[in-house]
Symmetry: none
Subunit: 196 residues, 4 copies
DNA sequence: GATGAATGAGTGTTCATTCAT
DNA sequence: CATGAATGAACACTCATTCAT
C-alpha cells in the first residue's frame, strides 16, 4: 500500500517486466493490464506510465530475448557454413516466437496500439536475417529472391498454432519453409535485393 | 411482432448466414453477435438458438466454400498431373483462407467456443489434401513424410498476416512452403503415413 | 439480481428516468452513469441500451417539463397581454432551467455526446418563444431584433450560477434582461426576423 | 537534475503562469495539471507547491488581466460620461471573460477547490463596477437597485456559450442586459445598496 | 525547494449470455 | 420458435494528489 518512489523505480520496472513475462506466458499478450500490475505489486497507472502502449511493454518484455536472438547470428555465421547458420538461426527464432503465447498473433494486430511491435521486430531482426540469407544465397544454397522481412513474418505466422495441432508442429512447418528456400537456389547466383 | 412459421425459420437461417458472412468479412470472425443478428433482421437469441457456439456459425458460414474447396480436388486431380493438382488446390485453399478476415487466426483460438472450427476443417479438408499429397508423393514429386492436417494448418497460419507485410505475402509464403514439399522428394518412394 | 424483462421494460424505463432525475438534481447532469443505474435498481447496460448518448437521457428526463413549458405558452398568450405573456413564460423557463443542477451548463458542452441536448431545446422551445416575442414586438412593447434562440440560450446561461451568488440571482438577472428587451421597443414596428 | 536557486524559483513561476495560460486557452481551465507542468518544463509537484488549489492558479494566470480590467475603470470614468464609462467597462469585462475558455463556467464550480476564484473576482472587480454603477445611477442613467457583484456574475454567465450559438452571442446578450439597466432609471434617484 | 514516480479510485463502455414472454 | 430486454463482469484509461529523495 505504501510504495517508495524514486529509488525503487528500477526495481518496479524490473518487477513489471518479470510479471508481464509470466502473465503473457500464462494468458497471452492480450492479458488484462491489471493482472500484470497486480502480480508486479504495482499500481495500474505505473504500468501505463512506463508503457503507454501495450506493444511497448511486449517489446520490452522480449527485448532481451530478441536482442539475444539477433546477436546469436554472428556467432552462428562464424562457426557454421552459411546455410547451416541460416537454418540454426531460424530455428532459434522459431523457439523465440513459438514459446511466447500470442506473440506471433499480436504481430498481426490491426490495432494502432500494436504498431510498435512489428516495427521493433523489423528493426532488430530483419537486417540479421538478411545477412544470413545473402550469405547462403551467395553460395547458391538458397534462393536469393526472398524478402527477409517477409520470411521473418512467415516464420512467425507458422508459430501461431496453439493446441490442436501436435507438438513440434511449428518446428516442422518451419523446416518445410526452409526446404523451400533451397529449392530455387542457383549456384553462383547474383545477389538480388527484393523490395516488398 | 412477426408471427413465425416453418418457412420463416429457413428464411431466418439464410438471412443469418448471409449477414454473418458480410459482418465477418467486414469486422472479422470475432465480430459482436449483435451485429450479425441486427443485420439479419433477427433477434439475438435466434442466433444462439441456431448456433450456440460461435465456431458453429463460422463453420456454417463457410461450409459451402469449404465444401467447394474440397470438391474441387477431384477435378484438379483428374485434369492435372499430381503435383500440379496439389499446387492448384493449395492455392485455392489459400484464397479461401486469406480472404476471410480472421478465419485463420480463429482456428488457433484456445477458447472452447472455437473447438468446432478446426474439427470441421479437419474432417472436410484433411482427407482431400492427403489424397493429393499421396498422389504427388507416389510419383516422387513431393516428399511423403508430411502430415496433411499439419500442412493444412501451416498454410492457414501463413495467411493470418493483415497489414504491414505487403500484398501477396501469403501467396509467396505458401509458394515457398510448396517448394519445401518438393525438396525431400524421392522417386518411387514408399508412402508413409505420419501420425500426429 | 433477477430482473424480468419484457413486461417490466416500461417500469424499468420509468425507474430509470426517475432515478436520473434525482441523481441529476443531486450531482448534476454529469453524474456517473453507474449512480443512476444503481439507484434505478437496474444494470448499467440498461441505461446504455435506452440512452446511448448521455444527452438523450438528459433530454428524456426533462422532456415532460420542457414540453409542459412549451405548452404553457399558449394559455399565457390567451390570458395575458403580449408582454406579460412573454414575461411570465420567460420566468417559467427560468424556473425550469435554474432548478436543474447543471442543465444550463450542459447546453454548452462542446462534447459531441451533448449535441442532442441544445437541439432538443431549440426544436421545442424556440418557436414558442419566437411567437411570444413577435406578439409583444408587434405591439411595440419589446424590440423586434432579438433572435429567439439566442435569447433562450442567454436566459439559460444566466441560470448556471450555483452557490456563491445569493438566491434569486437568476431571477433578477433574467428580469434585467427582460427590461433590456423593452428598451429598444418601437411602437408599430415592423417584425424583423434575425438569423443567427 | 536541475539545481534550483532563488532565481530559478521566479523563473519557474513565470514559466508556470505562461504555460497555464496557454493550456487554459487551448483546453480550458479544467485541463490536466500535468499538461501545465510539462509545458512549463517543471515538475508536477512544483505546480502544487505554488498553487495548492487550482483556482489559485487560475486567478494568478488572469491576475494581470483582471487588474488591468479593474484599473481601466478609472480612465474610462474620467474620459467618458458615467453611462458610457459603464458600458465600455462592461464590454471590456466581457472580452476578458469570453475569450478565456471555461473561465466563466469555473466561477460556478461547486468544488471547494474553486472557491478562491469568485472571491478573487469579487474583491478586485466588484468595487470598480459598483463605482461605475453608482455614478451612472446618480445621473439617472441606469437604475440604482442592481447589485454590482450580481451583475458581474450575470455578465460572466452570459459568456459561457461555446459553439452552437453564433459568434457575437455573448456581446449581444450583454448589450441586452445593459439596456435592461437603463430601463428602471430615475433621474435624481437615491443610491440604494442591495446586499445579497 | 524541486522532483517525478507511484497510486488507485473512478468512469465510460462493450458484449456474451440468459430468460420471461 | 423467436424475441429482445436485462444483466454485470470485464477492461482500458485518466488524473488529482502524495511523498521519499
Amino acid at each position: 500500500m505504501k510504495k517508495p518512489n524514486r529509488a525503487d523505480a528500477q526495481r518496479n520496472l524490473d518487477a513489471l517486466l518479470e510479471a508481464a513475462k509470466v502473465v503473457f506466458g500464462r494468458s497471452g499478450v492480450d492479458a488484462p493490464v491489471r493482472d500484470i500490475a497486480t502480480r508486479a505489486g504495482v499500481g495500474i497507472a505505473t504500468v501505463y506510465r512506463h508503457f503507454p502502449q501495450r506493444a511497448e511493454l511486449i517489446a520490452a518484455v522480449y527485448r532481451r530475448e530478441v536482442d539475444g536472438c539477433a546477436a546469436a547470428a554472428e556467432a552462428l555465421a562464424r562457426e557454421h557454413p552459411p546455410f547451416e547458420a541460416l537454418t540454426h538461426w531460424l530455428h532459434r527464432f522459431t523457439r523465440l516466437i513459438a514459446t511466447k503465447r500470442g506473440l506471433a498473433a499480436s504481430l498481426n494486430h490491426r490495432d494502432s496500439a500494436y504498431q510498435a511491435l512489428p516495427a521493433y521486430f523489423r528493426v532488430h531482426l530483419e537486417p540479421v536475417l538478411r545477412s544470413l540469407l545473402d550469405a547462403a544465397a551467395s553460395q547458391g544454397q538458397v534462393r536469393d529472391d526472398v524478402d527477409a522481412y517477409e520470411l521473418l513474418r512467415g516464420v512467425a505466422n507458422l508459430c501461431v498454432a496453439l493446441a490442436d495441432v501436435g507438438p513440434g508442429h511449428s518446428q516442422r512447418m518451419v523446416d518445410l519453409l526452409i526446404d523451400g528456400l533451397r529449392h530455387g537456389a542457383v549456384s553462383g547466383s547474383r545477389l538480388r535485393s527484393v523490395g516488398r
